[in-house]
C-alpha cells in the first residue's frame, strides 16, 4: 500500500484508516478529508471533484471488491497538503481487469444503469492509479490543474 512515486507524497505522510465495508462507515473518513481540504482553502470545485471520485472508489470497493460483504473492511490512506490531496482506497477482494470494462459513453451503453464510476474518477482526478491486482486505487488531485 505504498503511494505511487509520481504522486508527490511520502509513505510516512499518509494517515491510515480501516473502516467496515459499508457506506455509512466510510462517510466519516470522507468528511475528515473534506474538512482538511476546507482548512487548506481548497475551492468548491476541487472539493466536489474529490468527494465524487472518492465516493465512486469507495462504492466500488464495497460493491465489487468486497461484494457487499459487511464483515470485510476498506483500507484508506490519505494526505492533504496545500497543493495536493492523495487518497488510497483498498478492498479485500480479488481485484478486476480494467481493460474488460466497456465505455459508458458509447451510444450502445448510454442507457446502462451502471459502469460510470471509473470514468468519473478518471475525469475528475489529476491521476488515478490501480495496483496490478485491481483491489487498490490511488487518487491524486492537485490544487491547480490544466483544463481538460
Amino acid at each position: 500500500m505504498r503511494p505511487p512515486p509520481d504522486f508527490g507524497v511520502r509513505d510516512e505522510e499518509l494517515t491510515h484508516l480501516v473502516v467496515p465495508s459499508d457506506l455509512r462507515s466510510a462517510k466519516e473518513p470522507e468528511e475528515q478529508i473534506v474538512s482538511e481540504m476546507i482548512s487548506h482553502g481548497y475551492d468548491r470545485d476541487t472539493i466536489f471533484a474529490l468527494r465524487l471520485a472518492l465516493e465512486e472508489a469507495i462504492t466500488n470497493a464495497i460493491k465489487h471488491g468486497n461484494r457487499n460483504d459487511p464483515t470485510k473492511h476498506i483500507h484508506l490512506r490519505y494526505h492533504v497538503n496545500p497543493d495536493r490531496v492523495v487518497v488510497m482506497v483498498r478492498d479485500e477482494g480479488r481485484g478486476f481487469r480494467r481493460k474488460s470494462l466497456p465505455d459508458p459513453t458509447a451510444d450502445e451503453n448510454l442507457q446502462r444503469a451502471g459502469g460510470r464510476g471509473l470514468m468519473l474518477m478518471r475525469s475528475y482526478m489529476t491521476k488515478v492509479r490501480y495496483n496490478r491486482v485491481g483491489n487498490e486505487v490511488w487518487l491524486l488531485k492537485t490544487r491547480k490543474e490544466p483544463d481538460k
Binding site: E55, G117, M119
Partner: protein, 121 residues
C-alpha cells in the same frame, strides 16, 4: 397537493408532478435506492405521467444516482410519459456532460421553462 415523503417533496402543477429533493446530498448511494423506489412508485401509479425533477436543492450526486435516473427515464418512456430535469447547477451539469447523459435527458435551466416544455397528454 403536497405528498409527505422522507426524501421527496412532490407538488402538482397543471397535472405535472413536480419533484424536489428534500436533502442537499440526497443523491448519494445511501439514499438513492429509496429515492428511486419512491419515484418508480409514482411513475407506476400514473401511466402517461408528466414528471419534472427539480434539482435546485442538489449539490452532490453519484453514478448510482445517474443509474437511477436512467432506469426511471426508461420506465417513463415505456409508460408513454414525459420526464424533464431542471435547475441543475454547474457542477452537477458537468457530470451529465462528462457521461454524455445530457443527451439522454431533457434538461432545462429553470422549472418554469421545463413546465412550459411538457406536451399535453
Amino acid at each position: 397537493m403536497d405528498q409527505p415523503s422522507s426524501h421527496l417533496k412532490i407538488k402538482r402543477a397543471d397535472g405535472i408532478a413536480v419533484v424536489e429533493f428534500a436533502d442537499r446530498k440526497i443523491l448519494e448511494e445511501l439514499s438513492i435506492q429509496e429515492i428511486g423506489e419512491e419515484l418508480m412508485r409514482l411513475v407506476e401509479s400514473e401511466p402517461g405521467v408528466r414528471l419534472l425533477l427539480n434539482f435546485r436543492n442538489v449539490d452532490h450526486l453519484s453514478s448510482a444516482a445517474l443509474g437511477m435516473l436512467i432506469t426511471l427515464n426508461r420506465r417513463v418512456q415505456e409508460q408513454k410519459g414525459q420526464l424533464k430535469l431542471s435547475d441543475i447547477n454547474r457542477q452537477i451539469y458537468e457530470v451529465f456532460k462528462i457521461t454524455k447523459l445530457n443527451r439522454l435527458f431533457e434538461i432545462y435551466d429553470t422549472a418554469e421553462e421545463a413546465l412550459a416544455g411538457f406536451t399535453r397528454p
